[in-house]
Amino acid sequence: MAVRRTARRGLVRVGVGVTALLAVVSGLYLLATFAEAYGPGTIGGLGATLATTLVDTGHLLGRLVGTDLLRFRFVWNSLATGVLIGIVAPLVGTYLVHREMALIGETLAHTAFAGVAFGLFFAASTGWSTPILLPALIAGILGAFAVQWLTEHTDTYGDVPIAIMLTGSFAVGTIVISIGGGFSGLNIESFLFGNVGFVTPSGAWLMGALSAVVVAVIAARHKQLLFITFDEQAARVAQLDVGLHNTLLVVLTSFVVVGAMQVLGIILVAALLVVPVAAATQIAADFRESMYLGVLFGELSVLLGLSVAFPLNAPPGGTIVVVAIGIYALSVAAATGDFRALSTH
């Protein structure tokens, strides 16, 4: 039993190590391309050299496993974004799931959709072009505050503010898009279901910056978030700032959602906050391991999902979520020790 537990912990550590390596490479790529685009003189040159080196190395490694896709920068943008999503979505999702707030990601994605619609309307009306994710981020953060305010100041069940914001934002988004005549040239399907070629360099950089913030905040506030997630009343008595941390959690969720909607799409973005965590919860020995396993399952879902989506030119949101649910089904089977459980979950 002890040997099995040690082996299992070792395996999880290796997985976390590989994920960390992928995150470092993704971060380096994003920094390099940013420096290449905006860095002055030497820094720009260094960025260009590093980006080219990474892409060339990736291309070589890719050919070893039979793919030529890694020579394309747009593939790197999607992969780097995906790798970071695979880490931050389950990290934040772990607290959300255990606070029974699984659907808040879906809500904030729809709020971000309303932001995208307003951004497009603004751009079409004024001719002033703005990065599409900026209004999405602003709307996502405002939506996070609105959900938190409604939860704290109205006498209702916990999921009612979530339902109101979810449907309300989507309604506003659809009205704005109709008024704008559908915004010619815009592929709404890409927003709804994700698109492998949809991640722009600026979108990938934004995901990099948001991921750094999410990981830093969680590293600094994990204890408080865990205590509040487990026993909010006792955390209040212990004088932890519950209101601040609740707000922090929904704002971090909006960061993840806005960054992830490029790859997963608005409809499916919540899945990566929830499904890998649900899978990890089935088999984790403790809370820390559940976070590690959630990240591993998230990462596996993103990488396998993208690997299928690229050659098929399919929406990656769908493939990633199908893989995640497959992992969940296997976890349920492993937890129950009965693969017949697959037919009942």
């Binding site: 204890k223 997630t229 487990f230 006792a234 209040r236 008595v237 212990a238 020995a285 403790d286 809370f287």
Partner: protein, 246 residues
């Protein structure tokens, strides 16, 4: 000796419905206060006011001589809420992780130090759950879970334990063991406030009884409680307290 809790003229209403009316109560350090009253009598509300979870409409609360608004030693209070045995049923959290939470107010965002791990181990040993440290909370019995929550409070160096019907869903044997543990902790100087439906359990153990039904009907030692008509007035009928002898 300072009072652990001083409540003065506290009133609180849920909308139009009064839950507490002009309640004044002091709990000395080292006291074991049993808080009794019928369903909906305001016991949990009073405990919530006492712990700063609810702000009273009127009146004031002091904890360890400090107005609750400026009280900053949250770690001195261990709280086991109603239905706490239902916590963490779907969360893969271990006993040790739960007990470690008691140290979080001490370390803020930092890592747990050697002294924190020692405090966690000592707290688990004190309530006899060391062998359960790696077990997930949702695999334990109700009594074992309650001991984990008490260990969390001990790990935080709590001087005051506030327990709201802690033995709901706990079998009789574990319940006796749990109350035996409370007796021991109280004899070691920890102040205890216990809300309990079983009046016999409270009058057997508590050094002071507070009998509440929106208003405070009695506050004194068990003997004076038995001699008074507080039970009849608070519960609205004549009742007889049955003692528990083990």
């Amino acid at each position: 000796m300072t009072d652990a809790v001083r409540i003065e003229n506290v009133s609180f209403s849920y909308g139009e419905a009064p839950a507490l009316r002009d309640v004044s109560l002091t709990i000395a350090e080292g006291e074991f206060l049993g808080l009794i009253g019928p369903n909906g009598s305001g016991k949990t509300t009073l405990l919530s006011v006492m712990l700063g979870l609810v702000e009273p409409d009127e009146g004031s609360v002091e904890l360890f001589g400090e107005p609750i608004e400026s009280f900053e030693d949250g770690h001195r209070i261990g709280y086991v809420s109603q239905k706490s045995t239902e916590k963490g049923t779907a969360m893969p959290v271990t006993v040790e992780e739960v007990v470690e939470m008691g140290r979080y107010p001490h370390v803020g965002s930092g890592r747990l130090r050697e002294e924190d791990h020692q405090a966690v181990e000592a707290a688990m040993a004190r309530v006899d759950i060391t062998d359960l440290a790696d077990r997930k909370l949702n695999t334990l019995s109700g009594g074992q879970r309650q001991r984990a929550f008490i260990a969390r409070a001990l790990a935080s160096d709590a001087d005051l334990l506030a327990l709201d019907e802690p033995t709901v869903g706990v079998d009789a044997e574990s319940r006796d063991r749990f109350y035996g543990l409370l007796d021991e902790l109280n004899s070691e100087g920890i102040t205890i406030v216990l809300i309990e439906h079983d009046i016999g359990v409270v009058t057997d153990r508590a050094s002071r009884i507070a009998c509440l039904n929106t208003e405070l009907y009695h506050h004194g030692d068990p003997e004076s409680f038995h001699e008074s008509d507080a039970l009849e007035r608070a519960y609205g009928s004549t009742g007889q307290v049955v003692g528990h002898h083990h």
